[in-house]
Amino acid sequence: MTGLYERHPYPGKLIVVEGIDGSGKSTQLRLIHRWLEAAGYRVFFTEWNSSELVRRAIRRGKKKGLLTPTTFSLLHAADFADRLIYQIMPPLKGGMIVLADRYAYTAFTRDVARGVDPQWVREVYSIAPRPDLALYFRVPIEASLERVLTGRQKLKYYEAGMDLRLANEATESFRIFQSRILELYDALTHEFDLKVIDAVRDIDEQQQVVRQLVMDVIRGVEPKKPYERQSLLRQRPAVQKNGRA
């Protein structure tokens, strides 16, 4: 299987965002989601580590410090596979637009930074179709740290790579761990043709660039008919968090 290296045959479009924590990728994706829905497209949203299937195992593993780099990787892959089956593939086959906050590339950076074999994790994710557009929001460590810290003051244990014992102090650990991830992302941009967005720029400037790229990709996808839009808007919130309802 070479899913990530070949164009998928389905009528829908898959758009994913990648980047380290605090790169602003989720904000950008949310704006894309709103914009596409307002334009009348059927849009499905899915996010990393959100399926019911393994949520409890991941949470328990994290809390008790039971996770090794390999089980961490496999549990996230199981989460991904579950979302692939239930959330990504059906709309993609049905000709709709799927937006994914993080994709296999997150595993190729995070899990490899934790020490798993790069070839092995690529094989694990060979079940994934290649996105039609993969946006990588590149931001320097200091900018990301500042954003993450102003948001919630405290760094999360695994986000800072504290499980790797890189440093005693969370901020320093975050710097080392996320720097490794940044390097790995840079290498991926060539391997998987990720579109690099300068995430230091203002949000609206980035969004303009991103919308242009999205527009190029969704050409040919049919928006909803006017009578479909109204009835559906009443039933569904504009932006929903799948799997967490």
Partner: protein, 274 residues
């Protein structure tokens, strides 16, 4: 670059040099008597002077509940099933098997990755993908395969806990009749195991025979293996000695061992550890 002790590229972040213990796997389909046999092997090995620990499929602290829940909820398909099995296995490998091997214990594993490969294939997972998931797995020192046919499995299943949903492969829609489905699924599973036994040189034991016979055979094979391993380790230790030893007799012993080629029988693990 590739470490021969592993099926694939192994666990690059983990120190795995000097695993002194032995990893012995008992494989075979449902109801074939694996756990009964392991329960009998443990006290025997202890009498023989070996410290033993056993590990069971899907019993990891991390995933036991998740797998049970997911099975109950029917949310699994071939892909997620395969990934959860692999995660369960990885958890036990890193937290139970490798530490025990490092401490020099004999590890008896009730099922190994071969079970996952056989089941995943029947569920429709891509076989190449399903195998590549286990690239981090240690290759066992000895795989003992309890081989049966469906006919001898039927009474054991019925007299035991009965034919259950998963063992009968109802999820694969082989039919609505539990008995038919059980036979069909188990027949296919056994065929997969037989193919794996050929490919990976399992030591096969005829498990249609009595539990006493199976236990006797298991002890023979395990005993042979452990003696051979002990001999190889002693030769190796002796071979490492002579350069700075003034003991002439020992040098002679080491040389004769080398000449007889005994060292070549040392398992991969001992070789790699050097």
């Amino acid at each position: 670059m590739k470490d021969s002790r592993f099926y694939g590229n192994g666990l690059p972040y983990k120190k795995t040099a000097g695993l002194k213990g032995s990893l012995i796997v008992i494989e075979g389909t449902d109801h074939v008597g694996r756990s009964t046999q392991i329960d009998l092997l443990k006290p025997w090995l202890e009498v023989e002077g070996y410290a033993v620990v056993s590990t069971r499929w899907t019993r990891s602290a991390l995933l036991y509940e998740t797998i049970a829940e997911a099975k109950a909820g029917h949310r699994l398909n071939a892909t997620t099933f395969a990934l959860l099995y692999a995660a369960d296995f990885a958890d036990r490998l890193e937290n139970e098997i490798i530490p025990a091997l490092r401490a020099g214990l004999v590890v008896l594993a009730d099922r190994y990755m071969y079970t996952a490969w056989a089941r995943n294939k029947l569920m429709g997972a891509d076989p190449t993908w399903s195998r590549s998931l286990f690239g981090f797995a240690l290759v066992p020192d000895l795989v003992l395969y309890l081989k049966v046919d469906v006919a001898s499995l039927i009474p054991r299943a019925l007299e035991g806990k009965g034919m259950d949903y998963w063992e009968s492969g109802i999820h694969l829609a082989f039919g609505t009749d539990l008995f038919e489905s059980f036979c069909n699924y188990q027949r296919r599973l056994i065929r997969e195991f037989n193919a794996l036994a050929r490919e990976f040189n399992f030591t096969t034991i005829d498990a249609r025979k009595s539990p006493e016979y199976v236990q006797k055979k298991l002890r023979e094979h395990i005993g042979d293996y452990l003696r051979q391993r002990k001999g190889a380790a002693q030769n190796e230790a002796a071979a490492a000695q002579p350069l700075n030893s003034s003991n002439g007799a020992r040098i002679e012993h080491a040389q004769s061992a080398g000449a007889s080629g005994a060292i070549q029988h040392a398992p991969d693990r001992a070789q790699a550890a050097k």
